[in-house]
């Protein structure tokens, strides 16, 4: 690249952005400079000498940034902390400590073994090294740059970052590819702002342009210590004995991105944990699901049970030791050998017995539940991650469960708070329609209309079949005609789809989704009488903007555009497609390649850009003043409709009426509209105005804005309306369908966006959250408030609004008039103030949909928090940007969209989705499953541990409460480790009440989770009772069977070990059969795990009884195994122990079935195939009555159309029946029957 050309380009580039981007930089001579070297400002960086930073005192951390919760070093303290937030684990700790004392009822090895098991499990924590292994070019000496991974960066390294790359750490900008040392960065990842920010090097380092320049570069930076403040920086760069003060505008922050700049060189000042981005990131709070929190309470309950039976034991033991009757001489209790049964001090003995009992009956507290849950949830998360239906092929990303804590929470979500940009929409504008000279172009029919007409047609078909032939056919035809006649604008096209031929369907330009042959292919030049206005329209489109053309891949003829807003880009693309290619921009000129309507050939025209009146939110318009090659001066203006209509000349309103109608139609389709107007200015007038304007521009100070505003007003008047354009804020794939399904499943959806109200409402329409017959309640503050008095007024105003809305909502019949609440940021801020919150939320919760616009990130988090508190519902927040982080962290479940760039939201989220539409499957299928699985699993665990643990207690009542255990210590260890843990995993991972497609077809099933019926207290108590019953039957039956008579033919009598082994066998069988009864979806894995567990008990027993010199030696092969009573007894005990559950489930299934039961039955008996209409009908019925979503909108449209039809038909018939013709026909019809 020749340097001359580069120079030319440089000027063009870096200056142009000063239009909008360059804000006054902070004072270069930092007043804090004297601070350098003090505490807090002690960092020294030797540029280009990273080796100096390998030793102290200049050793700084490397660039590794941990993104996972644990790493090897912090694993223990953190994991322990995480664990001990759970109550049961405190007990676990207590038990572990007690085990080291003589109070321990078990042998030590058997206690340590499960501990080792738990820890071994937690070591399997995966590390996320993705970010840290990204590559960057680093100077390795002699002007050579090499690729290195991010984590290996050291302070002092010189790095080269090229366009669209992220900065690997906090850098000091040394030079950029622009000669003036400017570069642009995008800080979306840090603060959510998408606009570009300029950064500028010091004069002193400008010379470092090429790689080779860094051979000998040396410098020392003295600067502040690491801190989280993103917008400040204090430091000095010492170069060649000269000190240069540094400011934030030389600092490039990690996680921001280089834009519009070929490359930059920088020196690393802060790495890894020192970087501002990492310092600034809040640790995402670890969340716990509702089920798990309830589980804690269940554990408390079990703990209470444990305390109770321990108390009984302690009391009993004291009584035993005291009573002369019971204690025998053979126990030698009076020797005071055993402090646990000392008759002299029964209280103390009792106390010690109590402590021992706590450990002994510890099996009541399902500690291993936490391990099992963790395993199950990780596996569930793996299955969620692997689901092909949630894999996005375009980005190659899949759904990722970033935490496995919340899987089951997904099945209980009641509200979704969604961000707009990047979440629902692609942040990509598509030119969709336009209205020029009062004629609407771009005839795409909206999806809703399509669906409505399709459904209508189906109805008509049915109708036709249900009635007899000829008459109804006529009626259906008539229906077509009537409905096409109704409404105006696009509604005309309701049923007459594809009237506009789409000859080139395969043709697609990004950002341009416009199909109308009247304008395409330059056909418009033949089309109209008033081609002039059309040309003007296109010129506004091509000139009135701040965009810049860029060559795509260096091809001159293929131009792409970059502009401040994506809308402008879409205008430029559209203009290019219409034949007005904007191809060059300099400081003061714009070059268009125009289609000349008279010749049909393309001509290059240069326009002198005289003035640019910027867009801002209060002006809501933007204008350019240009002079064309003929010397005529034009003002081209685009802006919001009402703003432009106010400023039209009397003779400029020719198309106003038609345009207004089109605008309203576009608006309802969810399109974003903008009105174009122009005006010709004569030379004199311009000169006069220009002096005013330049003067205003020159003013420095507060009144500058106002003066500029006034100056603009002077010229932006008497405009001539050209038409309007409509762009679509392109929704992501499948968004409306997904919202539809979610609404049917009973989820409420709120939209929170930082965008302005109009845009938010547009999106509301386009994703069917809103529809035209919804009553929109707007909550906004009419005036800017600065003083406290004004604040009070505004507050009063809002209160008044809220009250009236509340009244409205309660009075109206809810079914026929759905409500939508639209709130803007200002009003929201006041409403969320303490006194109005309740009122606001009660209104909001009663509305079918709530849209909050102009919401700051903080407010997003605040709303989430308030709604969570107020409603107590499970809330899911979904967003993609850094501005959603607060909301994502605050919500019960945070979901980040990973498809777009920017990782902040994803990092804060619990689940990341590549696309919004996967939310449907994530919630309705996986959420539903996980909820049921986890609930069932916990209940089973409670059952299992009670069934097992209580037998120990019962047995103790027979041993004088001495703390003797019935089972061998190693049996007990194996209980949770091997013998019963694996079937639980099959229940928690593989169980499905219904298959995934049925989950999706019957959204009502999701409500079982919302209503939490699978983990209600009723169920929990039921399962506890079931456990008690099972333990009772297991224990008493065994005791009775093996009381004192001989065990076998040889007259041998069973001792503790024999009875223990037999009882234990029964327990294993019982709990495993119980889980088999709970599972409704048997894969071979489940079979393998359940029956394998039982089998493994016998294997274990066999192996264990071959261990020599144990008490249980040959217990299985010689003693218990050969006794028939052992096997026959097991059968009886298991049958009795599971009987209560079987009877319960049979009664429930037969007489009080639940939805999933019936659907299972229907599916099982093949009703879905045999009686398909019923199957479909039930699906329809299972949908929650909702006003939100696509099908609700279709329904209302159909209702609307039918009403219209009905009315028309009525009038038609009344006119017909009154006609004499009809009367004669009818008479003739009737007569034959009379004959």
């Amino acid at each position: 690249m020749s340097s001359r050309r580069r120079k030319q380009k440089l000027i063009k580039w870096s200056k142009l952005y000063t239009f909008s981007c360059l804000r006054p930089t902070t004072d270069e001579s930092a007043p804090t400079a004297h601070l350098i070297g003090q505490t807090g400002f002690s960092r020294v960086v030797f540029c280009n000498e990273p080796h100096l930073h390998k030793t102290k005192p200049y050793k700084y951390p490397n660039n590794y940034a941990s993104t996972t919760k644990y790493n090897l070093v912090t694993f223990f303290p953190r994991a322990l902390f995480e664990q001990f937030r759970r109550v049961a684990n405190l007990y676990f700790l207590l038990a572990a400590i007690l085990c080291l004392t003589p109070l321990n009822p078990f042998n030590r090895a058997s206690v340590i073994a499960p501990l080792v098991f738990v820890i071994a499990f937690f070591v399997f924590v995966l590390q996320d090294r993705e970010v840290n292994s990204r590559k960057v070019k680093v100077h390795v000496g002699n002007g050579l740059f090499e690729q290195k991974s991010w984590e290996s960066l050291l302070v002092g390294d010189i790095v080269k970052v090229t366009k669209n790359e992220y900065f690997p750490s906090d850098l000091l900008l040394l030079s950029s590819s622009y000669e003036d040392g400017l570069c642009y960065v995008e800080t979306m990842n840090l603060d959510g702002e998408t606009n570009l920010k300029p950064k500028r090097t010091l004069e002193a380092t400008l010379c470092l342009y090429e790689d080779i320049d860094f051979c000998k570069f040396k410098g020392t930076i003295r600067c502040e210590d690491p801190n989280p403040s993103l917008y400040t920086f204090v430091g000095n760069l010492d170069l060649d004995k000269e000190s240069h003060p540094l400011s934030p505008s030389q600092i490039l922050l990690r996680d921001s991105k280089l834009r519009n700049t070929e490359k930059i060189y920088g020196v690393v000042i802060f790495t890894g944990p020192d970087t501002k981005a990492i310092r600034n990131s809040t640790k995402s709070p670890s969340k716990r699901s509702r089920v798990e929190r309830k589980m804690d309470r269940v554990i408390y309950l079990l703990f209470a049970m444990l305390l109770l039976i321990s108390l009984i034991s302690a009391f009993g033991s004291s009584l035993f030791t005291m009573s002369e009757n019971h204690k025998g001489w053979y126990l030698r209790l009076n020797d005071h050998v055993d402090p646990l049964s000392n008759p002299e001090d029964p209280t103390f003995s009792g106390l010690l017995q109590f402590v021992r009992a706590l450990v002994l009956y510890g099996y009541l507290i399902p500690i291993s539940l936490y391990v099992s849950i963790e395993v199950v949830k990780v596996l569930q998360a793996v299955l969620i991650n692997k689901d092909i239906s949630m894999y996005d092929e375009t980005t190659g990303k899949a759904v990722k469960a970033r935490t496995s804590n919340l899987n089951e929470e997904l099945g209980q979500v009641e509200m979704i708070l969604s961000d707009k940009t990047g979440t629902l929409t692609c942040n990509q504008m598509e030119f969709k329609k336009c209205s020029i000279e009062g004629i609407s172009y771009g005839g795409e029919v909206t999806e809703v209309d399509l669906a409505a007409s399709r459904r209508m047609n189906i109805d008509v078909e049915r109708h036709r079949f249900s009635l007899d032939g000829s008459d109804s056919t006529g009626r259906s035809v008539e229906m077509f005609d009537l409905s096409t006649g109704g409404g105006g604008g696009t509604e005309k096209d309701v049923l007459g789809i594809s009237r506009i031929s789409n000859s080139r369907k395969d043709f697609f330009v990004k950002g341009f989704n416009f199909r109308d042959d009247r304008l395409m292919d330059k056909l418009w030049i033949y089309n109209r009488s008033n081609v002039n206005d059309m040309i003007m329209f296109f010129r506004v489109m091509a000139l009135c903007h701040t965009g810049i053309p860029i060559e795509e891949n260096g091809q001159e003829n293929k131009l792409m555009y970059e502009a401040e807003s994506p809308e402008e880009v879409s205008f430029l693309i559209a203009a290019r497609e219409f034949g007005f290619k904007f191809c060059q921009r300099t400081q003061s000129t714009m070059v268009l390649q125009e289609l000349d309507p008279s010749s049909g050939s393309e001509v290059k025209r240069e326009y002198k850009l005289l003035n640019l009146l910027e867009f801002n939110s209060s002006r809501k318009r933007m204008s350019v003043v240009v002079r064309n090659e003929e010397g005529e001066i034009f003002l081209f203006c685009k802006g919001a409709d009402e703003v432009i209509f106010d400023r039209l000349a009397d003779n400029g309103r020719t198309y106003q009426q038609a345009t207004v109608m089109h605008l309203s139609n576009y608006g309802e389709d969810g399109l974003r509209t903008m009105v174009f107007a122009y005006k010709k200015i004569d030379e004199l007038e311009y000169e006069k105005w220009n002096t005013v304007f330049t003067k205003a521009k020159a003013v420095v100070g507060e009144e500058r804005e106002e003066l500029l505003e006034n100056a603009s007003e002077l010229i932006e008047k008497d405009l001539i309306l050209l038409g309007a354009v409509a762009v679509e804020d392109k929704l992501q794939k499948g968004v409306p369908e997904c919202i539809d399904k979610l609404a049917q499943a009973g989820l409420k959806i709120w939209l929170l966006t930082g965008d302005k109200k109009e845009t938010a409402v547009n999106i509301g329409f386009s994703c069917s959250l809103l529809r035209h017959d919804m009553k929109q309640l707007h909550l906004c503050s009419s005036q800017e408030s600065s003083s406290s008095q004004q604040m009070k007024d505004v507050k009063k105003e809002i209160m008044y609004q809220l009250q009236s809305y509340n009244k409205l909502i309660t009075e109206e019949n809810r079914d026929d008039s759905p409500f939508a609440l639209v709130v803007d940021g200002k009003a929201l801020e006041l409403s969320l103030g303490n006194d109005l919150t309740k009122q606001f939320l009660s209104v909001a919760m009663n509305c079918d949909v709530v849209i909050c616009c102009r919401v700051s990130p903080k407010q997003k988090a605040l709303i989430t928090q308030r709604v969570k508190e107020y409603s107590g519902k499970t809330i899911l927040a979904i967003g993609d940007g850094a501005n959603d982080v607060g909301m994502i962290q605050e919500a019960d479940i945070g979901v980040g969209i990973s498809g777009m760039e920017g990782m902040q939201a994803v990092m804060a989220s619990d689940f990341s989705l590549p696309q919004f539409r996967f939310l449907e499957r994530l919630l309705i299928v996986h959420g539903h499953w996980c909820y049921k699985r986890i609930s069932k699993m916990i209940l089973y665990f409670v059952y299992k541990n009670i069934a097992f643990g209580l037998t120990l207690f019962y047995y103790n009542t027979f041993t004088g409460f001495s703390g003797q255990d019935l089972y061998d210590d190693w049996y007990m260890v194996m209980f949770n480790v091997l013998l019963t843990s694996l079937p639980v995993i099959s229940l928690g991972v593989l169980e499905q009440d219904v298959s995934s497609d049925i989950c999706l077809k019957f959204p009502a099933l999701y409500q079982q989770g919302q209503r939490n019926i699978y983990f209600s207290w009723k169920r929990i108590i039921g399962w506890i009772l079931n456990g008690v019953l099972a333990s009772l039957s297991v224990f008493t039956l065994n005791i009775c069977m093996f009381s004192s008579s001989a065990l076998d033919r040889n007259g041998n009598i069973g001792d503790i070990e024999h009875i223990g082994t037999i009882t234990y066998t029964c327990v294993i069988w019982t709990v495993n059969c119980q889980i088999a009864l709970m599972i409704s979806h048997f894969t071979w894995i489940s079979h393998f795990l359940i029956w394998g567990s039982i089998f493994s008990w016998y294997v274990f027993l066999y192996l264990y009884s071959t261990l020599p010199s144990t008490y249980t030696y040959r217990i299985f092969t010689e003693q218990v195994g050969p006794a028939p009573v052992y096997w026959i007894g097991t059968l009886l005990v298991v049958a009795v122990a599971v009987l209560p559950y079987v009877i319960h489930i049979v009664i429930q299934r037969s007489f009080f079935p639940m939805d999933d039961h019936i659907i299972q039955e229907m599916k099982y008996s093949g009703t879905d195939v045999k009686d398909n209409p019923m199957w479909v009908r039930e699906q329809e019925k299972s949908k929650q009555l909702t006003q939100v979503g696509y099908s609700a909108r279709v329904d209302s449209k159909i209702r609307h159309l039918k009403e219209q039809l009905h009315r028309k038909r009525k009038s038609f018939y009344s006119s017909l029946t009154n006609s004499p013709m009809y009367k004669t026909v009818v008479r003739r019809d009737i007569n034959p029957t009379l004959q």
Partner: protein, 349 residues
């Protein structure tokens, strides 16, 4: 589907078992990750439930009858002697009687055999209210010492019966110390009935848990004498009384095998029992019983198993009938949609 195709095609093209296995594995992994493994989804339908109850009931009742029959065919004689064997003057103060070594503990009684008893007839002693399962008691032993003798010095678990006069005790611990020491001998008329006291303990205990080279040392030498003494010249592995006694019972009422009579006893035979009532159960109001019992394949006399089977079987059949009745009277069609929540919600609310 895609996976299906691949696996079948590879199977057809080449019968390479490796690739077949691989594709099978990948198919499995696919099905597993997509949660679409083939599964059986049993649904409890009323006919199925009723028939299951019925069938299980029908299986249980015969088992119960067989078990009950076996139990009933056992002849068992239980004779409590702890009261009767105390001479009249000591009845009010039995403790004094049992503690007084000078009084002869000999006691003779005669028992009538109610039914023919087929050899072997097992002789048990039964103790009631004797907490052999008390933790303190259960733990007071040292298995290693029993097997290896004095090679194992650590007998802290045996305290206070671990050492005497500074010398370790073998076998140590309360269990051995409190060894049962009543003895029984039987005679039919004038002929003594031979009591076989060999092989009353588990074979594995004799061979692997009690040392063949371990002899009682310093046993019952302390100030407090517990139960029986052991012959220091017989190794522990042959002290079967001790081995049986060391198998601590699960419940406070228990029997232990004393020996076998290996002759049939006929109905109405009168046998006389000559016993030495040495063991002190009087201090804790326990009772002592002598039990003579035959056995069957199911073990000793215990009606419970049979009765339980029969009653559970009948109640299952009863439940089956109740369900049948309910089902006939109030049938719920299989997969009936009117029970779906969305179909009854509007009516109820």
């Amino acid at each position: 589907m895609e996976m299906d195709g691949r696996s079948s095609s590879s199977a057809v093209i080449e019968a390479d078992s490796v690739s077949l296995q691989q594709s099978r594995r990948s198919k499995f992994i696919h099905q597993f990750t997509q949660q679409s493994l083939p599964a059986c989804k049993p649904v409890l339908s009323p006919p199925f439930v009723i028939s299951v109850f019925f069938v299980v009931g029908l299986i249980f009742i015969p088992i119960g009858i067989v078990a009950l029959h076996a139990s009933r065919s056992v002849v068992e004689i239980v004779y409590r002697y702890d009261g009767e064997c105390v001479p009249e003057p000591y009845r009010s103060n039995k403790l004094a009687y049992i503690k007084d070594d000078s009084i002869s503990k000999n006691c003779s009684k005669s028992l009538k055999i109610p039914k023919h008893m087929k050899a072997p007839i097992y002789i048990y002693y039964q103790l009631d209210n004797y907490y052999q399962n008390h933790r303190r008691y259960v733990k007071s032993r040292n298995d290693k010492q029993l097997l290896h003798g004095l090679k194992y010095h650590d007998a802290s678990s045996c305290h206070p019966e671990d050492a005497n006069h500074g010398h370790p005790i073998v076998p140590c611990g309360l269990i051995a110390w409190s060894l049962f020491n009543d003895t029984y001998s039987f005679s039919r008329g004038v002929v003594d009935l031979k009591v076989n006291r060999k092989n009353i303990a588990w074979k594995s205990d004799r061979e692997h848990k009690f040392g063949k080279q371990v002899y009682p040392v310093n046993f019952q030498n302390g100030t407090l004498i517990g139960g029986a003494n052991l012959d220091p010249n017989i190794p522990l592995s042959d002290q079967e009384d001790l081995i049986v006694w060391m198998r601590t019972s699960a419940l406070p009422t228990f029997r232990k095998l004393y020996g076998r009579i290996e002759e049939d006893l006929d109905a109405d035979d009168v046998i006389s029992v000559n016993l030495f009532n040495n063991y002190n159960t009087y201090s804790f109001s326990g009772s002592k019983k002598l039990v003579l019992s035959t056995s069957t394949w199911l073990g000793g006399h215990n009606d419970f198993l049979g009765i339980a089977y029969i009653s559970i079987g009948t109640s299952l059949i009863f439940i089956a009938f109740v369900f049948l009745l309910l089902h006939v009277n109030n049938p719920r069609p299989y997969g009936d949609t009117s029970n779906l929540s969305w179909n009854w919600k509007p009516i109820s609310s």
